[in-house]
Symmetry: C2
Subunit: 345 residues, 2 copies
DNA sequence: CTCGCGAATGTAATCGATTACATTTCTTTG
DNA sequence: CAAAGAAATGTAATCGATTACATTCGCGAG
């Protein structure tokens, strides 16, 4: 029970104290410019005097909004995502929206559940960080009589048509490959993300294009499967260990992969970067502290988080339900540390 | 705008279709046992036929609840916390509560803000993971005419009287010290957390008691300040490097500290564990993949998250606002990996 | 067959804010 | 100074579910 024991002041009380109607109080609070300065002052004084706060449930019921946006995160445990949530949370708080978080790693929400978030009045908008949500579930959101505002962030679903905010994945890979090539590497491999994920394709595509641009052939044996996790990196590392001839450098689709990869190599006396250079993607906080410190492509998490939240909040405010899906690309930058160097010979 | 274009069925519609009153529909949904089997069936059929879903805002307004609980997290970017949120999120979802998340790293909420979460109708209960919230702000929550249900998790504030769920910190430290002593270490140091945090004291206390129990003197020069972060570990490492005679083992108050510490040592050719053993606390996912793999005290994050959520939800359900603050202690276990070994000589 | 009582159901007030529309007050200007 | 129009304020309907209280139904006992 949220209620205070005796009296939680309501708008009526404020109105009485200020000697105006409830309508005026409400207007003073929501659009101060339409009331006269005099009444505004007295209403605000009354608000302070009574300790009044609007009751959200009542407001939400009347306005048919919820004042919350929901982030669908593929895996809360992944530090990359949790660091992003920080930025989103800040932006939301500033706009008086609440940020709800749901982890989709356990159960992938279907069309019903997704629609349910809106129908149940849980959220006014969705920020989807999980590009693997099924297409029909997503399209269902748009085919509603009134579209439910949702945007993609970081990941996306290419078969659908939502606004999205993402990093410049291709350019990141290009910088990564160029950095290695500049140092003299020619046998460059790649550990990609899960093939069900667009990011994997975006990054692998960027990798291949960059290689081609530099006239470096891609050895398909050096392109390994993964899924962005530490464990995937470990498996890739074990595969490398089994090879007779290894690449001199590996570009990984995530920092986590790189960490896992390096861990296995180190444990087996393959020295990074002397024997093999490893490059990550994300620049999570750990990258700087790992041993060796990880050369990686930095995604601007804060900017991603803020941009996405801002974009969604703006659409909510303007009630712009238009179809034209925009893509906001956030630049990445390369952070050179010690996990890369010139090849041995 | 959450509304569907034409018609979002409401309880009236269901009542009409089922040929009963709205009261009966509501009862069927909230307490099925008080309606007759026959009406129950027809109501449920009508619900399905119309695709009805309760409107939360309306329900919340009427029942004076919000259906959400709020987690106050000191730092979302810290993987330890984000991994915990996963467990909480699951438990909440099962009980049809929403989980709201607020990061307190930017601004420490004061009494007003804390109270505001309830007064504004944002949450029915609080799970506080930040033990550094000011005492008066917290006490204010309890001194309300009707107490606002809040519990501590992981951290707590010893000056206040809330239920809390936490790991067995002292026992963890005892295992850590014993493990090192068993290997022959006598010069054992400690990097503690921030002195503003209870966990720091709990763990430092556990450390000292364990040392005493084994008749090992504590060299105060080997007790270093920190704050749970990678950066703190780095600074502690630099301090170690400056010492003429170093301890042969360090017990850190968190994994992050341990990582930072090891990183600096490694970069300066101090080998872990050969030259110095390092032990962490938490067992975040990275611990296994760091190089060298970190020996650490594992906190059962999932259990912590579930227990806390369950405790709060039960208190909400039973409306048990009693004062008796309980402490739920979750056991820890030691995970031995490769960052510890017998001392050099 | 009727009375009484518990079970099932219905009626309508209620939660607290917002806002369309109505009314009053203030400016402005011819 | 009056009239017209703009600005400020007030009145009351409304959002959609819950629930106290009233009513009706069903069944067994007398």
């Amino acid at each position: 029970m949220t209620s205070m024991n005796k009296k939680m002041p309501k708008i009526q009380d404020v109105a009485r104290v200020a000697g105006v109607s409830t309508a005026t109080v409400s207007r003073t609070l929501s659009s101060p410019d339409v009331v006269s300065a005099k009444t505004r002052d007295s209403v605000l004084a009354a608000v302070k005097a009574t300790g009044y706060r609007v009751n959200r449930a009542a407001r939400n019921l009347r306005t048919q909004r919820t004042g919350a946006i929901l982030a669908l995160v593929p895996n809360l445990g992944n530090p990359f995502f949790s660091e992003i949530l920080q930025g989103m949370e800040r932006t939301c708080k500033q706009s008086d929206y609440n940020l709800l978080i749901a982890d989709t790693s356990e159960t992938t929400p279907d069309a019903d559940q997704l629609e349910g978030y809106f129908r149940d009045g849980q959220a006014d908008g969705l920020i989807i960080l999980d590009g693997s949500l099924p297409r029909d579930a997503l399209e269902n959101l748009q085919n509603q009589p009134s579209t439910y505002p949702s945007i993609f962030m970081c990941e996306w679903n290419p078969e659908t048509n939502f606004h999205s905010v993402r990093s410049d994945n291709a350019h990141g890979m290009k910088m990564a490959v160029k950095h290695l090539a500049d140092q003299g590497h020619t046998d460059i491999g790649h550990v990609r993300g899960p093939m069900t994920n667009v990011l994997s394709h975006a990054r692998e595509g960027g990798f291949r294009k960059a290689m081609e641009a530099l006239n470096l052939p891609v050895n398909e044996n050096y392109v390994l499967d993964g899924d962005f996790t530490l464990e995937a990196g470990r498996m890739a590392g074990q595969e490398l260990l089994r090879m007779d001839k290894r690449p001199t450098a590996m570009v990984c689709a995530s920092d986590q992969i790189a960490f896992g990869l390096i861990a296995v190599l180190s444990q087996n006396n393959v020295i990074v970067p002397d024997d093999i250079s490893v490059l990550g993607f994300d620049d999570v906080e750990m990258a700087e502290f790992f041993y060796p410190p990880l050369t990686t492509i930095r995604q601007d998490r804060d900017c991603l988080g803020r941009s996405a939240a801002k974009l969604l909040l703006e659409r909510l405010k303007s009630r712009d339900m238009s179809e034209g899906a925009t893509v906001t690309t956030i630049p990445v930058e390369m952070v050179v540390r010690s996990s890369t160097s010139a090849p041995a010979n």
